[in-house]
């Protein structure tokens, strides 16, 4: 009889093991495991606790035998204290006659069904405790015996294989889905060439891939990082805002080129808490946009939506890094295409100006000179005073027109810039400016006679022109100093006025600064503006020169 019972239980165990390993869904494996353990041992109640990654608490707790309304009335799931915790710590089987009598027991919460007899068996996965099976209240009121313990140990061993299979299957399925998404994203990114649209696409697609609440793409902008694109909750209000490079996690990632992940932003002293409040974020990960060793921006993601604590996993970080690599290439390519287009447009504009200036000077100017000579000759030949006065008047008009034409030609494209170089052209420009405005201009150049490349000279000339216009329009300055020097393989230009300055945090589109910055960045240079209300303005430009 006993042998028949043992055979029957073994058969049930084998059947259970086969059924378990046939399951590919982890949730289904775990639930079936709990039910099978109860069935094999005749336990009224069964539970399975999954231990968390830190190995100290139960992160999941599945049950069998407790009615749903009773579970709801009990409330919070056990975390692994008392007898449950003994198995978490010791990972060895445990049988008890009466749970309540064991000194390690912490009792039951209100509403919990009474439980006396107990059997606990660990589930060990490749040498590490994955979780524990807990069985209570063997039918008939008997204690759990050695045979119960043996059979559950065998079940747990089979379950370990089934759990490992299910986890591998789920992981491979998830990665397969993510790879498909990455491919889709990569193709979409590769076909978008408009930089703002591309950045929007990057933000939206990463939001979907990570299941994040908010994703931002930040690009360097002077000493700050500007939110160039945003997707997710509150994104509309964040695009166009900026954070300080020096005081932000994004700035740190930009500097180091290394990804970072923070599970609880409130507890990280390196995170700017004002920014955290503004974004309403709890967790975050940051990955650099890096191309050929150069970090061109940062992608920040906040709050994984599908988990209670909003934390991102290591997998999420790896996924974001893979995505950022593709996105960086696409962004860099699009920016280079845009820069090349702009460079061609600017070069074409300057060429047209040069041609118009030449046409005005050589053709119109020459024609007017000829008219003047003819009029002078005519003036000497006419007899009457009235006729002579009329001819003189026409001659004065011709002289005036000739001067205007010459002035227009210089404004279009100063000949000094092409014939004698930047220093001569700026000397002429600042002299004219001083004469016209009565604003004192101190121009110092120490380029020691060298000629700069044409596009560099033109850009710097136009920047000085724009800056002087700004001084008149906005600065109410009495003096301007301009310094042009060579500095470590670059040419440096500093324009400083003693005017009223402006609030640097306020958008300053009317100052043409964006245009100046674009000209400089086209040449691989940088432009910096330092200003404070009441304290003047300094525009500093540095453009590298090919060695």
């Amino acid at each position: 009889m006993e042998r028949a019972l043992a055979d029957s239980r073994l058969r049930a165990l084998v059947d259970a093991g086969m059924a378990l390993t046939a399951e590919l869904s982890l949730d289904a494996v775990l639930q079936r495991l709990v039910e099978t353990a109860a069935e094999l041992t005749g336990a009224r109640y069964a539970a399975l606790g999954v231990i968390d990654a830190a190995g100290g608490r139960l992160e999941r707790f599945l049950t069998h035998g407790v009615e749903p309304e009773v579970e709801a009335a009990i409330g919070e799931r056990p975390l692994g204290r008392g007898i449950l915790g003994v198995l978490v710590r010791d990972a060895t089987p445990l049988r008890l006659h009466d749970l309540a009598e064991d000194p390690r027991s912490v009792g039951f919460p209100p509403g919990h069904p009474a439980m006396r007899t107990f059997l606990g068996v660990p589930i060990v996965l490749r040498g590490i405790a994955y979780g524990n099976l807990y069985l209570t209240e063997k039918e008939g009121g008997a204690d759990f015996g050695e045979d119960d313990e043996e059979i559950v140990i065998l079940l747990a061993a089979q379950a370990a294989i089934a759990i490992e299979n299910a986890r591998l299957y789920e992981a491979s399925t998830q990665w397969s889905r993510r790879l498909e998404s990455l491919n889709d994203v990569g193709n979409a990114i590769a076909t978008e060439t408009d930089v703002p649209a591309l950045l929007d696409l990057v933000a939206r697609r990463l939001l979907e891939l990570l299941g994040a609440r908010l994703v931002l793409v930040l690009l360097p902008h002077g000493d700050r990082l500007r939110v160039a694109a945003a997707a997710g909750a509150g994104a509309g209000g964040l695009a166009g805002t900026s954070v300080e490079r020096a005081a932000s996690k994004s700035g740190r990632v930009l500097e180091t080129g290394r990804s970072e992940r923070v599970d609880a932003l409130r507890d990280d002293p390196e995170v700017d808490q004002e920014t955290v409040r503004r974004f309403g974020a709890r967790s975050g990960l940051w990955v650099p946009l890096q191309v050929r060793g150069r970090v061109i921006g940062v992608i920040a993601a906040h709050d994984k939506a599908s988990v209670d604590d909003a934390r991102f996993s290591d997998d999420d970080l790896r996924l974001a890094e893979t995505f950022a690599q593709r996105a960086a290439i696409a962004v860099d390519l699009s920016e280079r295409v845009a820069r090349d287009s702009l460079r061609r447009v600017v070069a074409a504009q300057e060429l047209e100006r040069r041609r118009l200036a030449r046409e005005l000077h050589d053709e119109t100017g020459q024609a007017l000179t000829s008219i003047l000579l003819g009029l002078r000759a005519l003036e000497e030949r006419v007899d009457g005073d009235d006729e002579r006065d009329a001819v003189a008047s026409i001659r004065h008009l011709a002289v005036d027109t000739l001067q205007n034409v010459r002035r227009l030609a210089v404004e279009l494209r100063p000949k000094a810039l092409d014939d004698f170089g930047l220093v001569a052209a700026l000397e002429r420009l600042t002299e004219t400016f001083r004469d016209q405005t009565r604003i004192d201009v101190d121009f110092v150049a120490s380029l020691t006679g060298e000629q700069l490349p044409g596009e560099v000279a033109t850009a710097l000339y136009r920047i000085v022109q724009e800056a002087l216009t700004n001084v008149v329009k906005h600065a109410s300055a009495s003096g301007v100093s301009i310094l042009l020097t060579r500095k470590n393989g670059a040419v440096a230009l500093v324009i400083e006025d003693d005017g009223v300055g402006f609030d640097a945090a306020r958008p300053a589109d009317g100052f043409g600064l964006q245009g100046m910055r674009e000209r400089v960045e086209l040449l691989g240079g940088a432009l910096r503006v330092e200003t404070r209300e009441g304290a003047g303005t300094t525009v500093a430009v540095e453009v590298p020169l090919a060695s």
Partner: protein, 91 residues
């Protein structure tokens, strides 16, 4: 729209500053403002050996001379805008 200009009133001393075409008149960085409706005459003056200038004559006879410090065509663009604004103010 703003322009960098040199202004002088009734052939007095010149000073450089910003001219803005506001909705109802011309506003100057020095603090003055001339309503379009108060302009009796507007024309471009050309002097021998001088730069062209926009002349504004108010209805009380005050004469404002404006030279542009910006590039090609800026003065004429300014003139066109003042003509247009003055015309609208008169209707």
């Amino acid at each position: 729209m703003t322009y960098a200009v040199v202004l002088s009133e009734d052939d007095g001393p010149e000073h450089a500053g910003r001219l803005e075409l506001a909705r109802d008149g011309l506003a100057f960085s020095g603090g003055g403002c001339v309503p379009y409706s108060a302009l009796r005459d507007v024309y471009v003056e050309r002097r021998v050996h001088g730069r062209p200038a926009l002349i504004l004559v108010s209805d009380v006879g005050e004469r404002l001379r404006i030279e542009s410090l910006e590039g090609l065509g800026a003065l004429h663009e300014l003139a066109e805008q003042v003509f247009e604004a003055r015309g609208k103010a008169a209707t």
